[in-house]
Amino acid sequence: MFLIRVCLVSLFAYFFFGYLCIPFTIQGTSMEPTYPNGGVNFCWRLRYLLSEPKRHDVVAVRFAGSQVMLLKRVVAREGEQVEFREGKLFVDGREVVESYVRFPCNWNLASRRVEKDSVYVVGDNRSMPIENHHFGQASRIRVMGGPLW
């Protein structure tokens, strides 16, 4: 009976932490100060099972699999025009207030439309030059979920 319990708990843990609630360590400073380098969190895969990512949501974007993911913030959704003027975010020509951006930013990015089934993601830390920051539009199918906290 004890062995059966151990097997069931192990099986549950394997599927839960392997596929539904994936633990990860944050490596890098692109989401600072919201998510500091070295922090630990979980990617909740069911977050967007019945809904779509909204503006200001923090999402995990996958590469070829779930071992390496990017943690970024959604700033625009499909069909919207996104641009940066002197560090300020504009969506469809209107300035968006971003309380989570704490460091000074002077980015300029010409207006572009977010493609169908895509979201536009950017990190919270925009203190580095724009060419050194990994951001842009990601296909919706690459959004694995969101951090648990």
């Binding site: 974007v61 590469f63 070829a64 699999g65 071992q67 390496v68 990017l70 990601a138 690459r142």
Partner: protein, 166 residues
């Protein structure tokens, strides 16, 4: 008791046989993955690497590729077709700028769309330190096409997939 011993010995022989078969005759997927392990090993560089090892690795990297091999990268002047010599020379030149380099590969998914052709998608992470002291941490998704020639797998095409499009 004697019967139990026979079962145990029989079971042990079967397990050893299976382990030997898997080790001696690896599956095609394992053979493909081994080529990636070699690529990772040869691209990586330790701070104390001597010039002879450097030259050997440079030459070895070229042997993993078919002639010619194609590189496709979005918005990158590196896209094009390369011979083995060109790949070796480019790899050597790129490695020489680093004091330390580590190529890590994740999430290798191997598919065989045709006979003697393998398509592999993976995440590649390059962590390094330039001789000037500047740190590098690049992550890319790669889509690789491999072909089997004379019982060996060779890289035929490497495409860098654009995950975030600015």
């Amino acid at each position: 008791m004697v019967k139990g011993r026979y079962f145990f010995v029989g079971g042990l022989i079967v397990i050893i046989g299976v382990v030997l078969a898997v080790t001696v005759f690896p599956s095609e997927e394992k053979r493909v993955k081994k080529r990636f392990r070699l690529l990772s090993e040869w691209v990586s560089k330790r701070p104390e690497e001597n010039p002879i090892t450097m030259l050997q690795k440079m030459k070895d990297i070229g042997t993993l590729f078919l002639e010619p091999s194609e590189l496709k990268a979005p918005n990158d002047s590196l896209s094009g077709s390369y011979t083995r010599q060109e790949i070796s020379a480019y790899a050597g030149s790129a490695r020489s700028h680093f004091s330390q380099l580590d190529l890590k590969l994740y999430d290798l998914n191997v598919a065989f769309p045709e006979k003697e052709v393998a398509q592999v998608t993976l995440t590649a992470r390059l962590i390094g330190k330039f001789k000037t002291g500047e740190q590098v941490d690049e992550i890319h998704e790669l889509d690789c096409l491999m072909k089997k020639v004379d019982k060996k797998w060779f890289f035929s095409q490497i495409e860098v997939i654009e995950v975030l499009k600015k």
